[in-house]
Subunit: 264 residues, 2 copies
């Protein structure tokens, strides 16, 4: 059974897409069969892999709103061992359209479980890990991801406003667990854009580790300009500059995520 | 008639709140009667002024959903010459609730125009400038702000993903101008988190100035850790550290915004 992990945080610009794209690429490099689902109308995870966001094609919108099949939507072999379900601009209207549909919170779960079920996929095709990149809100797109997922990986920027928003996110996770998805756990919290030269970064790290203990990954993602350059080349960091601190951090995070799965 | 300016960009973490809070504080320091409206459920602009987000009080939610009066909601004199309409967690549910109300796109416009109309307010009370901080989405909360405003100030982070999202934002502004608010103009684009040591920042600046010319403010907001420390003390930058590069940049931006208004 694939591990389905939503990468979520309603605070904007904390590194959700950067984490989803680079973690997916590192898991694929470790020959884990990986699927990345882009649930954000901005389609940054799509363009982070060099996929044209504006090309005329079926996207996640068609999978959850107009009942296209998984096979029609998935882009296979974007990099070896990695498939991507792309997003596009038409997803922007999905928040409103979903409200009028049956099962509006379960659309992604149903679409994925049909595709991921052992009956549908031959052995060699089944995924080990599914990552879902979420938009910066707690609306129906993120709720769909939290219902489809078995756990949530939370990128947390080492800044004050980001820390403030954590409580609202954890309250929402509890609500979803109570009402829609009893299996939903916290996969882990990963500190992002850590700048060792600033007091603020150290203060946030101390506070978060103090409060969440084991749930916080040992790996801390440093602020590293190579990570923000890579998307303009349409490449995850391990294909853009494998020797930089950003790449080493995401490789280490992927190791922790892979080990974490074995325990549960 | 007050200038009503929405501070908007659906890309997350680009500096919307930091710009709204610090521009409002600088305009107030220049003795412009200023109102800051926090339209984001994260309520970062509220806590950026040291206002307790969780206190039991009426918020923007009550003004646009349950028809509370402006007087009941506004917090006067947060700093001299500055009033704030705070946000709170209950705004998170507003996206869905607004969908079921009459005039769902006009709720903020109606609430403000009643309060700002010359008939309602004695001369000395009337605002010179109203700033509206928007959430990172193009949903009904941001649409309400774009309908209530006469112009949009766009903070643009000097990064690739932020540049990619600009087109979607400008398309939405055109849609709103066409369907809901014929007066809506672009007030200006301000480059934020500029780091002169990186090629990426210079590339983004060159591209944006090349494409948008005069619409881009001369003032560029540098990446400056003091700007991200100030919110943890509940203070805008001019009250936290007036001598830092972040404060000087926002003072200069306020001068440009004040001059820009005279031309139009
Ligand atoms: N560790 C890092 N070091 C330097 N830059 C980073 C790092 N992580 C992310 N970035 C850059 O910061 C910006 C925000 O990151 P990203 O877009 O991944 O965040 P997000 O949470 O997905 O944003 P949104 O809320 O809009 O979806 C991007 O331009 C990205 O390239
Ligand atoms: N010029 C700057 N230099 C350094 N840090 C900054 C600067 N501008 C903003 N920040 C910090 O970057 C983070 C993102 O900024 P901010 O929250 O203002 O963006 P936003 O667009 O309002 O985010 P959201 O999309 O979540 O509403 C915050 O932690 C803020 O303190
Ligand atoms: Mg993202
Ligand atoms: Mg904000």
């Amino acid at each position: 059974m694939a591990r389905i992990i939503a990468v979520a945080n309603q605070k904007g610009g904390v590194g959700k897409t950067t984490t989803a794209v680079n973690l997916a690429a590192c898991l694929a490099a470790a020959e884990k069969r990986t699927l990345l689902v882009d649930m954000d109308p901005q389609a940054n995870a799509t363009s982070g892999f060099g996929i044209d966001r504006k090309a005329q094609r079926l996207t996640i919108y068609d999978l959850i709103i107009s009942d296209a099949s998984f096979e029609q939507v998935v882009l296979r072999g974007i990099v070896p061992w990695l498939d991507v379900i792309p997003s596009g601009v038409n997803l922007a209207g999905a928040q409103v359209e979903l409200l009028q549909l049956e099962n509006r919170e379960n659309r992604l779960k149903r679409a994925l479980s049909a595709a991921l079920s052992p009956l549908m996929m031959a052995d060699e095709r089944r995924y080990d890990v599914v990552l879902i990149d979420c938009p910066p809100s707690l609306g129906l797109l993120t709720i769909n991801a939290l219902v489809a997922a078995r756990s949530v990986l939370v990128p947390l920027q080492c800044e004050y406003y980001a820390l403030e928003g954590l409580e609202q996110l954890l309250d929402t996770v509890k609500l979803v667990r109570g009402a829609l998805n009893p299996h939903l756990e916290i996969e882990g919290i990963v500190l992002t854009m850590f700048d060792g030269r600033t007091n603020l970064s150290h203060q946030v790290e101390t506070e978060v580790r103090g409060f969440f203990g084991e749930k916080v990954y040992q790996t801390v993602i440093p602020r590293n300009v190579r990570l923000s350059e890579a998307p303009s080349f349409g490449k995850p960091i391990v294909f853009y500059d494998i020797s930089c601190t950003g790449a080493l951090a995401y490789i280490n995070l992927a190791k922790e995520v892979m080990n974490g799965g074995e325990e549960s």
